[in-house]
Protein backbone atom coordinates (compact mmCIF):
# COMPACT_ATOMS: atom_id res chain seq x y z
CA UNK A 1 0.00 0.00 0.00
CA UNK A 2 1.60 3.27 -1.11
CA UNK A 3 -1.18 5.71 -0.41
CA UNK A 4 -4.58 6.05 1.19
CA UNK A 5 -5.95 4.86 4.50
CA UNK A 6 -5.26 1.72 6.51
CA UNK A 7 -6.26 0.63 9.99
CA UNK A 8 -4.75 -2.34 11.81
CA UNK A 9 -6.40 -4.14 14.71
CA UNK A 10 -4.76 -5.17 17.96
CA UNK A 11 -3.86 -8.56 16.44
CA UNK A 12 -1.83 -6.86 13.72
CA UNK A 13 -4.34 -7.67 10.98
CA UNK A 14 -5.62 -5.13 8.49
CA UNK A 15 -9.17 -4.02 9.17
CA UNK A 16 -9.61 -1.44 6.45
CA UNK A 17 -7.41 -0.52 3.52
CA UNK A 18 -7.73 0.30 -0.15
CA UNK A 19 -7.23 -3.31 -1.27
CA UNK A 20 -10.13 -5.42 -0.09
CA UNK A 21 -13.87 -5.14 0.14
CA UNK A 22 -16.02 -6.99 2.63
CA UNK A 23 -19.38 -8.70 2.69
CA UNK A 24 -22.06 -6.24 3.77
CA UNK A 25 -24.95 -7.08 6.01
CA UNK A 26 -28.07 -6.64 3.88
CA UNK A 27 -30.84 -7.67 6.23
CA UNK A 28 -31.64 -9.31 9.54
CA UNK A 29 -34.69 -10.79 11.15
CA UNK A 30 -36.12 -13.52 13.29
CA UNK A 31 -37.47 -16.89 12.22
CA UNK A 32 -39.77 -18.83 14.50
CA UNK A 33 -39.39 -22.58 14.30
CA UNK A 34 -42.01 -25.17 15.09
CA UNK A 35 -42.13 -28.86 15.80
CA UNK A 36 -41.71 -31.38 13.04
CA UNK A 37 -44.34 -33.92 12.23
CA UNK A 38 -43.48 -37.58 11.94
CA UNK A 39 -42.12 -38.31 15.36
CA UNK A 40 -38.96 -36.23 15.48
CA UNK A 41 -39.70 -34.65 18.81
CA UNK A 42 -36.19 -33.35 19.35
CA UNK A 43 -36.05 -31.24 16.19
CA UNK A 44 -37.72 -27.95 15.43
CA UNK A 45 -37.93 -26.58 11.89
CA UNK A 46 -38.40 -23.19 10.28
CA UNK A 47 -37.85 -21.55 6.93
CA UNK A 48 -37.92 -18.11 5.41
CA UNK A 49 -37.62 -16.62 1.94
CA UNK A 50 -35.47 -13.83 0.56
CA UNK A 51 -35.79 -12.21 -2.89
CA UNK A 52 -32.26 -11.22 -3.84
CA UNK A 53 -29.91 -10.51 -6.71
CA UNK A 54 -27.07 -12.50 -5.16
CA UNK A 55 -26.57 -15.82 -3.33
CA UNK A 56 -26.91 -14.95 0.36
CA UNK A 57 -24.54 -15.75 3.19
CA UNK A 58 -26.63 -16.43 6.29
CA UNK A 59 -25.48 -16.31 9.91
CA UNK A 60 -27.62 -17.48 12.81
CA UNK A 61 -27.80 -16.64 16.47
CA UNK A 62 -29.74 -18.68 18.99
CA UNK A 63 -28.91 -19.09 22.64
CA UNK A 64 -31.08 -22.05 23.51
CA UNK A 65 -30.92 -24.73 20.84
CA UNK A 66 -28.32 -25.87 18.35
CA UNK A 67 -29.11 -24.28 15.00
CA UNK A 68 -28.50 -26.33 11.89
CA UNK A 69 -28.40 -24.60 8.51
CA UNK A 70 -30.61 -27.16 6.81
CA UNK A 71 -30.43 -26.01 3.23
CA UNK A 72 -31.13 -23.40 0.61
CA UNK A 73 -33.25 -23.73 -2.50
CA UNK A 74 -33.78 -21.13 -5.17
CA UNK A 75 -36.27 -20.15 -7.84
CA UNK A 76 -35.48 -17.50 -10.44
CA UNK A 77 -38.26 -14.91 -10.51
CA UNK A 78 -37.01 -12.85 -13.45
CA UNK A 79 -35.51 -9.40 -13.67
CA UNK A 80 -32.36 -10.56 -11.97
CA UNK A 81 -34.23 -11.56 -8.83
CA UNK A 82 -33.99 -15.02 -7.31
CA UNK A 83 -36.16 -16.25 -4.44
CA UNK A 84 -34.08 -18.15 -1.90
CA UNK A 85 -35.75 -20.37 0.67
CA UNK A 86 -33.58 -21.03 3.71
CA UNK A 87 -34.42 -23.90 6.01
CA UNK A 88 -33.14 -24.30 9.53
CA UNK A 89 -33.37 -27.00 12.15
CA UNK A 90 -32.90 -26.57 15.88
CA UNK A 91 -32.01 -29.65 17.83
CA UNK A 92 -31.81 -30.45 21.53
CA UNK A 93 -34.86 -28.27 22.06
CA UNK A 94 -36.39 -27.82 25.46
CA UNK A 95 -39.52 -26.68 23.72
CA UNK A 96 -40.79 -27.02 20.20
CA UNK A 97 -40.59 -23.35 19.26
CA UNK A 98 -37.52 -21.23 18.87
CA UNK A 99 -36.87 -17.67 17.78
CA UNK A 100 -33.65 -17.69 15.81
CA UNK A 101 -32.07 -14.43 14.68
CA UNK A 102 -30.58 -14.43 11.22
CA UNK A 103 -28.24 -12.04 9.46
CA UNK A 104 -27.97 -11.85 5.66
CA UNK A 105 -24.69 -10.83 4.06
CA UNK A 106 -23.92 -10.12 0.43
CA UNK A 107 -21.42 -8.43 -1.86
CA UNK A 108 -20.86 -4.72 -1.28
CA UNK A 109 -23.19 -2.37 -3.08
CA UNK A 110 -22.34 0.63 -5.22
CA UNK A 111 -23.10 4.27 -4.49
CA UNK A 112 -25.96 4.14 -6.99
CA UNK A 113 -27.52 1.33 -4.96
CA UNK A 114 -26.95 2.96 -1.57
CA UNK A 115 -26.16 6.70 -1.52
CA UNK A 116 -23.26 7.77 0.63
CA UNK A 117 -23.97 8.93 4.16
CA UNK A 118 -23.62 12.56 5.13
CA UNK A 119 -21.28 11.72 7.97
CA UNK A 120 -18.70 9.03 8.71
CA UNK A 121 -15.81 7.33 6.98
CA UNK A 122 -15.59 6.20 3.34
CA UNK A 123 -12.46 4.56 1.92
CA UNK A 124 -11.87 4.28 -1.84
CA UNK A 125 -9.35 2.29 -3.81
CA UNK A 126 -7.29 3.65 -6.69
CA UNK A 127 -10.07 2.75 -9.13
CA UNK A 128 -12.60 4.83 -7.28
CA UNK A 129 -14.44 1.83 -5.84
CA UNK A 130 -15.43 1.85 -2.18
CA UNK A 131 -13.67 -0.62 0.09
CA UNK A 132 -15.24 0.54 3.37
CA UNK A 133 -18.06 2.80 4.47
CA UNK A 134 -19.00 3.38 8.06
CA UNK A 135 -22.75 3.31 7.43
CA UNK A 136 -22.56 -0.41 6.62
CA UNK A 137 -22.12 -3.44 8.86
CA UNK A 138 -19.58 -5.99 7.73
CA UNK A 139 -18.69 -9.68 7.98
CA UNK A 140 -16.53 -9.28 11.08
CA UNK A 141 -14.85 -12.65 11.59
CA UNK A 142 -13.77 -13.67 15.06
CA UNK A 143 -12.90 -17.31 14.50
CA UNK A 144 -13.28 -20.31 12.21
CA UNK A 145 -14.17 -23.47 14.12
CA UNK A 146 -14.26 -27.03 12.81
CA UNK A 147 -15.67 -30.06 14.57
CA UNK A 148 -15.41 -33.60 13.24
CA UNK A 149 -18.40 -35.91 13.45
CA UNK A 150 -18.54 -38.43 16.27
CA UNK A 151 -17.49 -41.91 15.28
CA UNK A 152 -18.13 -44.33 18.09
CA UNK A 153 -20.04 -42.14 20.50
CA UNK A 154 -23.38 -40.40 20.41
CA UNK A 155 -22.28 -36.83 20.74
CA UNK A 156 -19.30 -34.55 20.46
CA UNK A 157 -19.00 -30.84 21.04
CA UNK A 158 -16.56 -27.98 21.44
CA UNK A 159 -17.06 -24.67 23.20
CA UNK A 160 -15.33 -21.35 22.59
CA UNK A 161 -15.50 -18.32 24.85
CA UNK A 162 -14.98 -14.90 23.32
CA UNK A 163 -14.84 -11.32 24.59
CA UNK A 164 -17.58 -10.63 27.10
CA UNK A 165 -20.04 -7.89 26.35
CA UNK A 166 -19.97 -8.66 22.62
CA UNK A 167 -22.57 -10.51 20.56
CA UNK A 168 -21.85 -13.43 18.25
CA UNK A 169 -23.46 -15.38 15.39
CA UNK A 170 -22.27 -18.27 13.24
CA UNK A 171 -22.35 -18.85 9.49
CA UNK A 172 -21.89 -22.43 8.35
CA UNK A 173 -19.32 -22.73 5.61
CA UNK A 174 -21.70 -25.13 3.90
CA UNK A 175 -24.98 -26.70 4.84
CA UNK A 176 -24.84 -28.26 8.26
CA UNK A 177 -25.26 -31.97 8.30
CA UNK A 178 -28.56 -33.61 8.85
CA UNK A 179 -30.00 -36.89 7.68
CA UNK A 180 -33.17 -38.82 8.30
CA UNK A 181 -34.66 -42.06 7.11
CA UNK A 182 -38.24 -43.13 6.84
CA UNK A 183 -39.42 -46.35 8.41
CA UNK A 184 -43.01 -46.57 7.39
CA UNK A 185 -44.74 -43.49 8.79
CA UNK A 186 -41.99 -42.87 11.30
CA UNK A 187 -39.18 -40.54 10.32
CA UNK A 188 -36.06 -40.87 12.42
CA UNK A 189 -33.13 -38.50 12.43
CA UNK A 190 -29.70 -40.07 12.11
CA UNK A 191 -27.43 -37.20 12.92
CA UNK A 192 -27.42 -33.44 13.17
CA UNK A 193 -24.71 -30.81 13.56
CA UNK A 194 -25.15 -27.23 14.60
CA UNK A 195 -24.10 -24.39 16.85
CA UNK A 196 -25.41 -22.34 19.74
CA UNK A 197 -24.49 -18.72 20.57
CA UNK A 198 -25.21 -17.91 24.19
CA UNK A 199 -23.85 -14.53 25.26
CA UNK A 200 -20.11 -14.72 24.51
CA UNK A 201 -19.99 -18.53 24.50
CA UNK A 202 -20.34 -20.43 21.23
CA UNK A 203 -20.79 -24.19 21.24
CA UNK A 204 -20.57 -26.50 18.23
CA UNK A 205 -22.16 -29.92 18.50
CA UNK A 206 -22.72 -33.13 16.58
CA UNK A 207 -25.47 -35.44 17.72
CA UNK A 208 -25.94 -38.96 16.44
CA UNK A 209 -29.22 -40.61 17.16
CA UNK A 210 -28.48 -44.08 15.89
CA UNK A 211 -25.12 -45.76 16.08
CA UNK A 212 -26.28 -48.83 14.22
CA UNK A 213 -26.96 -47.37 10.82
CA UNK A 214 -26.35 -44.17 8.94
CA UNK A 215 -28.86 -43.46 6.22
CA UNK A 216 -27.70 -41.89 3.00
CA UNK A 217 -24.22 -40.60 2.42
CA UNK A 218 -22.49 -38.39 4.91
CA UNK A 219 -20.20 -36.61 2.49
CA UNK A 220 -19.06 -33.95 4.87
CA UNK A 221 -17.86 -35.27 8.19
CA UNK A 222 -16.76 -31.91 9.54
CA UNK A 223 -18.94 -29.05 10.68
CA UNK A 224 -17.18 -25.77 10.05
CA UNK A 225 -18.58 -22.45 11.14
CA UNK A 226 -17.40 -18.87 10.90
CA UNK A 227 -17.97 -17.02 14.16
CA UNK A 228 -18.97 -13.40 13.57
CA UNK A 229 -19.00 -10.40 15.87
CA UNK A 230 -22.48 -8.95 15.42
CA UNK A 231 -22.38 -6.47 18.30
CA UNK A 232 -24.74 -3.57 17.61
CA UNK A 233 -26.00 -5.18 14.41
Amino acid sequence: MTFGFKSVNDAGTNQIDDTYKGLEMRASGTINTSSLSGGISFLSYGSFTLDLTYPPVIAFKDGTGFTCNNGISSVYLGGGITRYTIGILVFKPSSTHYAVTYFVFGPPRTISEVPLPQIGLVVYNSSGAITYRSDQKYFNIVDVVSLASPTNELETSTTRTYTSGRSYAVASTAISNYAAYSDGDLITAEFCSGFKCSSNVVTFSWKRYNLQSIAGSMLSTTLTGIVLDVTNF
Binding site: V57, S73, A171, S176
Partner: protein, 89 residues
Protein backbone atom coordinates in the same frame (compact mmCIF):
# COMPACT_ATOMS: atom_id res chain seq x y z
CA UNK B 1 -9.48 2.25 23.61
CA UNK B 2 -6.00 3.74 23.78
CA UNK B 3 -5.07 3.83 20.11
CA UNK B 4 -6.27 2.89 16.62
CA UNK B 5 -9.49 3.64 14.81
CA UNK B 6 -12.94 3.94 16.34
CA UNK B 7 -15.86 4.18 13.91
CA UNK B 8 -19.33 5.16 15.01
CA UNK B 9 -22.50 5.12 12.95
CA UNK B 10 -24.84 8.08 12.62
CA UNK B 11 -26.56 7.09 15.85
CA UNK B 12 -23.32 7.10 17.79
CA UNK B 13 -23.21 3.30 17.99
CA UNK B 14 -19.75 1.76 17.75
CA UNK B 15 -19.16 -0.14 14.52
CA UNK B 16 -15.41 -0.68 14.54
CA UNK B 17 -12.72 -0.62 17.18
CA UNK B 18 -9.20 -1.98 17.46
CA UNK B 19 -10.28 -5.54 18.26
CA UNK B 20 -12.58 -6.11 15.28
CA UNK B 21 -11.34 -8.39 12.52
CA UNK B 22 -13.09 -7.41 9.31
CA UNK B 23 -13.46 -10.32 6.91
CA UNK B 24 -11.95 -9.35 3.58
CA UNK B 25 -13.65 -10.64 0.46
CA UNK B 26 -11.15 -11.80 -2.14
CA UNK B 27 -13.77 -12.93 -4.63
CA UNK B 28 -16.58 -15.31 -5.48
CA UNK B 29 -17.02 -18.06 -8.04
CA UNK B 30 -19.92 -20.23 -9.12
CA UNK B 31 -19.04 -23.89 -9.56
CA UNK B 32 -20.85 -27.11 -10.41
CA UNK B 33 -18.13 -29.66 -9.80
CA UNK B 34 -14.91 -30.15 -7.93
CA UNK B 35 -12.04 -27.82 -8.66
CA UNK B 36 -9.51 -25.37 -7.35
CA UNK B 37 -8.37 -21.78 -7.70
CA UNK B 38 -5.31 -19.80 -6.73
CA UNK B 39 -5.38 -16.31 -5.24
CA UNK B 40 -2.30 -14.54 -3.91
CA UNK B 41 -4.53 -12.84 -1.36
CA UNK B 42 -4.80 -16.01 0.70
CA UNK B 43 -1.28 -15.36 1.98
CA UNK B 44 -2.37 -12.07 3.57
CA UNK B 45 -4.40 -13.63 6.39
CA UNK B 46 -6.37 -16.63 7.58
CA UNK B 47 -8.55 -18.05 4.76
CA UNK B 48 -12.33 -18.34 5.03
CA UNK B 49 -15.03 -19.49 2.64
CA UNK B 50 -18.78 -19.86 2.45
CA UNK B 51 -20.57 -22.10 -0.07
CA UNK B 52 -24.13 -21.20 -1.04
CA UNK B 53 -25.99 -23.80 -3.14
CA UNK B 54 -27.51 -22.34 -6.28
CA UNK B 55 -29.31 -25.33 -7.76
CA UNK B 56 -32.80 -24.15 -8.60
CA UNK B 57 -36.04 -25.55 -7.28
CA UNK B 58 -37.11 -28.04 -4.70
CA UNK B 59 -37.14 -27.84 -0.96
CA UNK B 60 -34.12 -26.70 1.02
CA UNK B 61 -31.74 -29.58 1.02
CA UNK B 62 -28.36 -30.55 2.31
CA UNK B 63 -25.43 -30.91 -0.07
CA UNK B 64 -21.96 -32.25 0.32
CA UNK B 65 -19.16 -29.71 0.24
CA UNK B 66 -15.61 -29.79 1.49
CA UNK B 67 -12.70 -27.38 1.09
CA UNK B 68 -9.00 -27.51 1.77
CA UNK B 69 -6.33 -24.83 1.54
CA UNK B 70 -2.72 -25.33 0.57
CA UNK B 71 -0.60 -22.22 0.20
CA UNK B 72 -2.53 -19.85 -2.04
CA UNK B 73 -4.73 -22.58 -3.51
CA UNK B 74 -8.26 -23.44 -2.45
CA UNK B 75 -9.54 -26.87 -3.51
CA UNK B 76 -13.17 -27.94 -3.19
CA UNK B 77 -15.38 -30.95 -3.71
CA UNK B 78 -19.11 -30.47 -4.15
CA UNK B 79 -22.21 -32.47 -4.98
CA UNK B 80 -24.22 -29.45 -6.13
CA UNK B 81 -23.86 -26.18 -7.98
CA UNK B 82 -22.91 -23.44 -5.57
CA UNK B 83 -21.41 -19.99 -5.24
CA UNK B 84 -18.26 -19.87 -3.14
CA UNK B 85 -17.39 -16.62 -1.39
CA UNK B 86 -13.81 -16.62 -0.20
CA UNK B 87 -11.41 -14.31 1.56
CA UNK B 88 -9.15 -13.80 4.54
CA UNK B 89 -9.42 -12.30 7.97
Amino acid sequence: MSNGVLVLDAGGVEQLNTSVRVGKLLGSTTVSSSGSLTDAGFSTGTPWYIAVPTTAGGAPSWFGFTVSFSGNTMTWMTTSSCTIYYGVF
